[in-house]
């Protein structure tokens, strides 16, 4: 019964998405006050409620492990802890698609409920775009990936969930990214609404901005968390592999970063109209590409994709329809939007344009590197594109961007002169040079980490320069957000460069009681003991580790065996100090009773993720600042209107 309620709610939600689309189209043809158009907002709200019910039903099915439902039987197991039963609901293809559309419909309901800044017609067109995007997901779910499908015969036990995925971080990781993707789809809907009604104004950018900021914060957190997960879970100390799945989350982030800056220019200066719309379209396309390519299996291999050609073709058609449609609409309408205010290169806008171009170029490189192997594989030529390609090629654009990023926030809007900020530029340049000399000549660091370290230091200092000479208590929250986010980029960069330049590795086969060392750490393997968990058994290696002859700390990394399904994983142990992390892994034993131990000392590595968190925090501050300003403005407008009404009455 529960599954049937869920399915019925999903069908009804799809019907309402059609109504929402029809309402918006009616608004475009017959005006915003026609009967059908007036239904757009209520339809969006109701659609959100229904799809939320549908998703709640799926969660319920997983919570009680209803093994007559195919999805539950395939992805869950009665012996799993409740939290992982629930996360199993979206740890699979069908469930994750349902989660996507749920978040999207709830976002649609929210803008239908509260967004009143824009002309009604633009809003209805926006909601129509939202309905159109959602409709594709509904069609996909209902026609080819029904999450509520029953089995003819209930099974006795479920197949379980990949043990690698039984981790709280990973349970929360996909939803975080989905919130980001959905936020970008809302931004896209606004862009379509504005394009269709020829209403690309600062107000439009202001309405869109909280969604971009929110999406960007979620994507930042998602990427940061995903990277840390890969770092501690995979057991080899790598934190970014340029894996297509990782790139699928990085590309929307790059586009969102560019869009964010471009929308800021539009909101405060009424410039860069076409850029903003285009980046909105690109950001949405990238999030669609991210969602669908990851889910279709095409990224692992073109051949894996061909195993399920029906679903695969559906995905390709949807992708083509959305991305192609969005680009077509942009091509048809972009000519009708004027460019907006002009500005010179020595201005805040000028710096932002330079950085947007750089971000777009990085995005293009990542996109090319991700899709090119798929393209050649289709012609049976196998090419590998990995870190040795992505790192140097993206660096060509990253470092100029970082240089502009250090200077840009110091410039004034519209027109400024370089000489006004010459002192700050000299300071940043001097820091850069000194760092280059110290790390390059004295420590002999390789080129990319050398540039990383030096730019990180210069940018770290430069990111605070916009606050110079200002009364810190009167600096707007959004400016603090910018400073924080830019500083976060420097911090993360320092972590990456330091990890790459100064890490040390030790692989050793140790018998119980033997010692080894890695960097400043002394390590003793004391004993190896078997232990058991709820659905795994493990060998735990008890080790005493001490930093620089200090007090020893006891750690116990494990080599784990899960039995549903059977799989071996390593549980690494990280010892965090302020200046870095010791990373310890135990592998299997060799015939002579020795245990393989892998140890790394990674100086300042944690800064990578602290930097990511700072960037996200900056985004949150900016979001708070923007929303507060908007609320104040709204209150002021209301007060003004009330006063005018009063004046009219008096006269």
């Amino acid at each position: 019964m529960i599954a049937e309620i869920g399915l019925a709610a999903l069908w009804l939600a799809a019907a309402l998405a059609v109504l929402q689309l029809a309402g918006g189209l009616a608004a475009l043809r017959a005006g915003e006050n026609s009967d059908l158009a007036a239904l757009t907002r209520p339809a969006a709200v109701l659609q959100g409620g229904l799809v939320a019910i549908s998703f709640a039903m799926l969660l319920w099915l997983f919570a009680i492990t209803d093994l007559s439902v195919k999805l539950v039987a395939m992805n869950s197991h009665t012996a799993k802890p409740l939290i992982f039963k629930l996360s199993g609901a979206w740890g699979n293809h069908e469930g994750s698609m349902l989660l996507w559309v749920t978040v999207m419909a709830l976002a649609g309901a929210l803008i239908a409920g509260i967004e009143r800044r824009l002309p009604e017609k633009t809003m209805q067109a926006t909601l129509a775009a939202q309905g159109f995007v959602a409709l594709g997901f509904y069609a996909f779910l209902l026609l080819s990936s029904n999450p509520f499908e029953r089995l003819p015969e209930p099974v006795i036990e479920g197949l379980g969930l990949n043990p690698l995925l039984q981790d709280i971080g990973l349970a929360l990781h996909p939803p975080t990214l989905y919130f980001g993707y959905v936020g970008l789809s809302v931004a896209f809907s606004f862009a379509v609404g504005a394009l269709l009604t020829r209403n690309v104004t600062p107000d439009f950018a202001r309405a869109m901005r909280p969604w971009i900021l929110g999406a960007w914060v979620f994507l930042t957190l998602g990427i940061t968390a995903g990277s840390y997960w890969a770092y501690y879970e995979l057991g080899w100390g790598g934190y970014w592999f340029w894996d297509p799945v990782e790139n699928a989350s990085l590309m929307p982030w790059l586009a969102a970063t560019a869009l964010l800056h471009s929308a800021s220019v539009l909101a405060s200066r009424d410039a860069l109209r076409v850029w903003t719309i285009m980046l909105g379209v690109v950001a949405f396309s990238m999030s669609m590409l991210g969602t669908f390519l990851v889910r279709s299996g095409i990224l692992t291999s073109v051949h894996a994709f061909a195993v399920d050609p029906e679903r695969g073709s559906f995905i390709l058609i949807l992708l083509g329809l959305y991305i192609g449609g969005a680009l077509l609409l942009f091509a048809l309408r972009a000519g009708t939007i004027s460019e907006g205010e002009r500005f010179s290169i020595a201005s805040r806008e000028g710096a932002l344009v330079v950085n947007n171009v750089m971000l777009s170029a990085i995005l293009a490189v990542v996109l090319l590197g991700t899709l090119y192997p798929l393209l050649t594989e289709a012609f049976d030529v196998r090419v590998s594109v990995g870190p040795p390609y992505f790192n140097p090629v993206s660096a060509v654009f990253v470092f100029p961007m970082l240089a502009v990023m250090a200077v840009g926030p110091l410039l004034r809007w519209r027109r400024d002169s370089w000489s006004r900020i010459s002192r700050e530029m000299a300071l940043t340049g001097a820091l850069l040079l000194v760092a280059l000399v110290i790390f390059g000549v004295v420590s002999q660091v390789a080129l990319l980490p050398l540039l990383g370290l030096s730019f990180a230091i210069a940018l770290g200092v430069a990111s605070f320069l916009p606050l110079r000479g200002r009364n810190l208590r009167r600096v707007p929250i959004a400016v603090w957000g910018m400073v924080m986010a830019h500083f976060g980029v420097a911090v993360a960069l320092l972590g990456m460069a330091s990890e790459s330049a100064f890490s040390t590795e030790r692989l050793a086969a140790l018998a119980e009681g033997e010692r080894t060392s890695v960097g400043p750490w002394a390590v003793e393997l004391q004993a190896v003991e078997p232990i058991a968990g709820p659905n795994w058994t493990a060998m735990a290696a008890r080790m005493a580790v001490s930093y620089d002859d200090g007090e020893p700390i006891e750690i116990a990394p494990q080599s784990r065996n899960f039995w549903a399904p059977a799989q071996q994983t390593t549980e690494s142990v990280l010892v965090t100090r302020w200046n870095g992390q010791l990373y310890a892994v135990v592998g299997s034993s060799s015939n002579d009773g020795r245990w393989q131990v892998r140890l790394w000392w990674k100086p300042l590595v944690t800064l990578i993720w602290y930097g990511g968190l700072l960037v996200a925090l900056g985004g949150i501050l900016a979001l708070i600042g923007r929303v507060r300003t908007d609320l104040k403005r709204r209150a002021a407008v209301r007060k003004g209107a009330a006063r005018r009404l009063e004046m009219e009455k008096v006269s």
């Binding site: 995979l234 057991g235 080899w236 100390g237 790598g238 592999f241 340029w242 894996d243 297509p244 799945v245 692992t300 500005f343 010179s344 290169i345 020595a346 000028g350 344009v353 330079v354 171009v357 750089m358 170029a361 293009a364 490189v365 090319l368 590197g369 090119y372 050649t376 030529v381 196998r382 090419v383 590998s384 594109v385 990995g386 870190p387 040795p388 390609y389 090629v393 060509v396 654009f397 590795e505 030790r506 692989l507 050793a508 086969a509 078997p530 232990i531 058991a532 058994t537 065996n561 039995w563 059977a566 799989q567 071996q568 390593t570 592998g587 299997s588 060799s590 015939n591 393989q596 892998r598």
Partner: protein
């Protein structure tokens, strides 16, 4: 009771352990004694694809095949081969796919042409936009 459970646990784990019956090659999990050679080997391993994994280098993988390849890389470096000779040997055996380091060839030229075009386009964009007012 606890010991019994542990024993039971080990017995259940046996089949998993049995999946990899052949012990890993000696240098799969052992570093070379010469730190300079080990650094060379490590740098090379980071640019070689683990053919059994998804987007991991052989320096990041527990797969038995990655272990065997690490062993091969280390003994070849130890016997005096240059990293590029070792790479060439592996490419000969497994094809271009095994190397992450892109080489300019008839199949890969777009990977290099597109970034170059991007630089030109970006330059052109800036020049057109800012030439009069700069």
């Amino acid at each position: 009771m606890r010991a019994l459970f542990a024993l039971l646990a080990i017995m259940i784990a046996m089949p998993v352990a049995a999946q990899q019956s052949v012990p890993p090659a000696p240098y799969a999990y052992r570093q070379l004694d010469d730190p300079v050679q080990e650094a060379e080997a490590q740098e090379l391993m980071e640019t070689l694809r683990c053919l059994k994994c998804q987007s991991q280098s052989i320096a990041d993988s527990d797969a038995p095949m990655a272990g065997d390849m690490r062993h091969q890389v280390r003994i070849r470096i130890a016997s005096g081969d240059s990293p590029e000779q070792v790479r060439g040997w592996l490419v000969e055996r497994y094809g271009d796919y095994v190397s992450y380091e892109p080489v300019l060839s008839a199949r890969t030229w777009p990977l290099f042409a597109v970034p170059a075009i991007l630089v030109l386009v970006a330059g052109l964009l800036f020049w057109r936009r800012f030439r009069r007012r700069a």
